[in-house]
Symmetry: C2
Subunit: 199 residues, 2 copies
């Protein structure tokens, strides 16, 4: 399946079903986390003027800083703070993009305990403002990556809160989500899905 | 000379400008820095479902963390990293919003040394993606706040890089920028300007 980047650049896939395995090997050999792959992807998007999307820094509560002479300030005591948003946001063709990325070692479902309430709350706020918001879920063992629009995530979350199942099955992700192509340049090419769904 | 701390520590001004006096007093009595005021404004926007805009955490390079039993992880060595973006971003009516906020104690001009090259570069990338990007400049002593679209900032920056003046005069800000109203609820009501300029 050919995908054109907004730049007009061709995305050349290695045909059919077989390459999935090869790709999978290549991928796992790289030994990269989903976060690393998404950061690389964002760098690719940025350097090709396709999008400007960044990972937010981890929020830290700084308690004590020392200022040694002739060298950089050293933070000597600090604590991790609860984030109030998702990890990634930015702009693509004028639209606001906001997402969270999650990995699981499960093979059959994605446990919702990986998602935090404050992330759902934030995504609901973004959704209200007509931003594009979604979650990227990677099944590490299967090397499958899914894109799930937040509106679906909200429903699975609601089911969970109401005492229903505590996870999203892989089948549900296949049905309600989109598979994200893994390519060499844009490793986790989620913008190809964004293009298809929102533009 | 007063300095505003992000902690919201008291800032006591020696206000003297008659026409602005009352406002200036009210403002300084609150003891708020521009950052605090913008954070409060964003909270107001968020709680009223007007926009979802947050300040990004300060990027920190963590070197050493300790994990004491029965208490939170403590960062024992870390360093401040150079940010690669501006401080604030988010979504308003589906559009991507991205800005930097700066204060000066000058009364006649805004020195461009307050802006960093990486911030300009980032704003240019946002601009290319059709995001709404601007700088909020506060003359602390005058208690005047201006909104300057990034396209104008780029031109002043270019003039500066080409050996021209190292600042933007207050007159230029009045001509090319927009005055931001200070109100009780949305203290630095920059969305009123965004509405006027981009929607």
């Amino acid at each position: 399946m050919g995908i054109n980047y907004p730049s007009g650049k061709k995305y050349t896939s290695q045909s059919n079903l077989q390459p999935q395995k090869k790709l999978s090997n290549t991928y796992s050999n790289r030994g990269m986390s989903l976060e690393t792959d998404i950061n690389e992807t964002n760098l690719y998007y940025l350097s090709h003027n396709l999008a400007c999307i960044h990972k937010k820094p981890t929020p830290i509560q700084i308690v004590h800083v020392e200022y040694p002479k002739r060298s950089a300030a050293v933070i000597k005591e600090a604590y991790f703070k609860q984030a109030s948003t998702t990890d990634y946001n930015g702009v693509y063709k004028g639209r606001y993009i906001d997402f969270e990325a999650k990995e699981t070692n499960n093979k059959t479902s994605f446990p919702l305990q990986n998602v935090h309430l404050h992330q759902i709350t934030h995504m609901m706020q973004v959704h209200k403002q007509d931003g594009i918001t979604f979650v990227i879920i990677r099944f590490s063992k299967l090397n499958e990556i899914y894109f799930l629009d937040a509106s679906h995530l909200f429903l699975f979350w609601k089911r969970y809160e109401e005492g229903g199942r505590k996870s999203i099955s892989r089948e549900e992700l296949i049905e309600f989500g989109e598979s994200i192509p893994i390519s060499y340049q844009a490793r986790v090419d989620y913008l190809s899905v964004v293009d298809r769904l929102y533009f």
